[in-house]
């Protein structure tokens, strides 16, 4: 983590309600993911399941700075972003359950949440694949003078893909309004950054495209929010893309199938102990007198209950009807063969 931990809440001109909202969103994500893990263990969820636990402050901080007209595109570790955006978590959980009420009708699964009505264009499962897509959405915004910024999240690992390079270059050449947010959690799946990236600091990669870049502490939602605000201003003013590298850490395995042979329990514990974004933020809030522990506990309990209902909703929903299987392969009718 490169920035000092000392960012105080009072330095920011935020209302208490807003601050508690950030807190609540982080807790919602955490509990959502814990519930998902549990349901996966019960066999209610299949396939891949990538949890965002430990990285909540990045999504929550950044997305809190976005305006409704802005757009969101993410990789496959994509449960946190829609929750941060305020999307109802029930269809998200239902999606994991493969239910008709899922946000993608049960067709997408964990890696493919989306809600275009909220300008959330989805999670994508091919590493690097969504970066050119985000670039294109940004082009449509520029082309149609929408004054909207596309915020695109991706991991350190994806910066080694050719798609990353091509997308960065295109976004810079055409000065597209896109904010690149790289979540550097030190690993791509089980491979540590230093073994696969020529540079350890992802911001350095932005230099190859003259894209202004900043590296920040991704465990502090306020620092993330502030950096995002400035970056969005830059993008919105027509100066082209901006690049944020948020240093963070994944507390759980890459996916539920990951035995975590590539890192020690101690390493994970050290990070958990000192860098849990929820623990850090609650300390900040109580020490600054913004909220009492009791207030936070009430939020925690509230979210706990909410998530019970979320799981129940998913559980009680019907599976997609078999008669829908062949719908939406094409947007326009295709003659049957």
């Amino acid at each position: 983590m490169t920035s000092p931990d000392g960012m105080r809440t009072k330095e920011l001109s935020m209302e208490k309600g807003q601050l508690l909202d950030l807190y609540r969103k982080m807790v919602e994500i955490r509990r959502f993911e814990e519930n998902a893990a549990e349901q996966y263990a019960h066999g209610k969820i299949g396939g891949f399941l990538h949890l965002y636990i430990g990285e909540e402050a990045v999504a929550v901080g950044a997305i809190s700075a976005m305006e409704p007209r802005d757009h969101l595109v993410t990789h496959y570790r994509d449960h946190g972003y829609p929750i941060a955006l305020g999307i109802d978590p029930r269809p998200l959980m239902a999606e994991l359950f493969g239910k008709a009420t899922g946000i993608s009708g049960g067709r997408g699964g964990s890696m493919h949440m989306s809600d275009p009505e909220r300008n959330f264009w989805g999670g994508y499962a091919i590493v690097g694949g969504h970066l050119p897509i985000a670039t294109g959405i940004a082009l449509s915004n520029q082309y149609l003078n929408r004054e909207a910024v596309v915020v695109c999240f991706f991991g350190d690992g994806s910066t080694n893909t050719g798609a990353f390079h091509e997308a960065m270059n295109l976004s810079a050449v055409w000065k597209l309004p896109v904010l690149w947010i790289c979540e550097n959690n030190l690993y791509g799946m089980g491979t540590a950054v230093e073994y696969v990236s020529a540079v350890r600091d992802m911001v350095k990669k932005a230099g190859a495209y003259d894209i202004p870049a900043i590296q920040i502490d991704g465990q502090n939602p306020l620092e993330v929010r502030e950096a995002t605000e400035k970056a969005l201003e830059h993008c919105r003013s027509g100066q082209g893309p901006f690049f944020i590298e948020a240093m963070t850490y994944r507390f759980r395995g890459h996916s539920m199938a990951d035995p975590e042979a590539y890192r020690t329990k101690e390493e994970v514990e050290t990070h958990r102990a000192s860098e849990d974004p929820i623990v850090r933020f609650s300390r900040m809030l109580t020490e600054d007198g913004v909220a009492t522990q009791a207030e936070l506990d009430r939020i925690n309990a509230d979210v706990e209950q909410e998530m019970e209902e979320v799981v129940r909703f998913a559980e009680d929903s019907p599976v997609p009807g078999p008669e829908t299987l062949m719908d939406h392969i094409y947007a326009e009718p295709v003659p049957v063969r």
């Binding site: 989306s114 694949g129 940004a138 449509s140 149609l144 997308a167 003659p335």
Partner: protein, 331 residues
């Protein structure tokens, strides 16, 4: 009233008309602007429409198709030019894992109306620049694949592709850009479906598409002089594939020869043969014959290249083969 124009001009008219009709239609691709297009299809477009709508791109096939996917999701109607179909391999992840999937995977919540124009072809261009992969794209649900042979289809298909809501792989051919043919006066579009019987005959059915169609037609004319009446079908659209038209023809002729420029193994012809034997089994008097390229990376030397790409002689030989065949039943 019809006019006769070239295949290239048909494409140019389609692009012009659609760009004039709808501000959201724009072009992007390598060297389509200042260079005027590697097959000169977009000549003058940069000067006419400006840099916003005619975008010279970096050499980033994957990136520009991905960008076009995103732009399409965002409400534009991008027409990407991939210089040749050989380079589309670099973009195939964005075509197959993205364009073809997103509408379904996200439950129909948005569309990806992207048109990818690219060119098949050969002519001493060597192993990496002489391939054709229409069969690969035709394998993929979620894509529409067209490979027009005539100026009329080229124009009508391209306009429909641009107006449509689905991703379309639009495959041209470098060796037919100068072919001339009739197109209707005034506006028209053509639905992206259906094969067409372009020459009627009763003795044998020849099926092809794109440049292969002309090869088949040439062979049919030769055969006519020998008193053999070949029915010639231009497939036009490769996904969805109109097998019915072929089956109906085979029900009449009882014999089928498929002509294509790709390698025979797993070329489009494989699917057509497999489907026709399924649907017209009782009508076939001879095995379906497939004429395709020899299975070799394309050599540069002209004398070798000529051996690889099928010519009229190979088609005639195949026709003789299916005609000579006696129907026997062995048990």
């Amino acid at each position: 009233m019809a006019r006769e124009i070239t295949y290239r001009d048909a494409l140019r008219e389609a692009l012009h008309e659609e760009m004039d009709r709808d501000e959201r239609v724009f072009l992007l691709g390598e060297d389509i602007g200042a260079y005027q297009g590697s097959y000169v299809v977009t000549r003058g477009f940069l000067e006419e429409y400006g840099r916003k709508r005619v975008r010279d791109t970096p050499i980033s096939e994957l990136g520009i198709v991905g960008l076009a996917n995103g732009a399409a999701m965002g409400g534009l109607h991008p027409v990407v030019e991939l210089m040749t179909i050989n380079f589309s391999l670099l973009a195939i992840d964005q075509i197959v894992n993205h364009a073809a999937k997103l509408h379904y995977m996200f439950n129909g919540k948005f569309t990806v109306p992207v048109v990818i124009r690219t060119a098949s072809g050969w002519g001493q261009l060597g192993a990496t620049h002489s391939q054709t992969f229409e069969g690969w794209y035709a394998h993929v649900p979620g894509l529409r694949v067209v490979m027009p042979a005539t100026p009329r289809d080229a124009k009508g298909f391209l306009k429909s592709a641009i107006r449509g809501q689905d991703p379309v792989i639009f495959i041209e051919h470098s060796l037919i850009y100068r072919n001339r043919g009739e197109v209707p006066e005034g506006e028209y579009t053509l639905p992206l479906e259906g094969a067409e019987v372009r020459r009627e005959g009763k003795d044998v059915t020849l099926v092809s598409w794109s440049r292969g169609y002309y090869l088949a037609l040439g062979a049919a004319e030769d055969l006519a002089k020998q008193g053999i009446e070949a029915e010639v079908i231009d497939m036009r659209v490769l996904r969805p594939l109109d097998i019915d038209t072929v089956v109906q023809s085979v029900q009449k002729t009882n014999r089928l020869v498929i002509v294509e420029e790709s390698w025979r193994t797993l070329g489009m012809g494989a699917e057509i043969a497999a489907a026709v034997q399924e649907h017209a089994f009782d009508y076939l008097d001879a095995p379906i014959a497939r004429v395709g390229s020899l299975e070799v990376p394309m050599p540069y030397a002209k004398n070798l290249e000529r051996l690889v790409i099928p010519g009229k002689d190979e088609v005639l030989t195949a026709v003789q083969g299916v005609l000579a065949r006696e129907l026997v039943t062995v048990h």
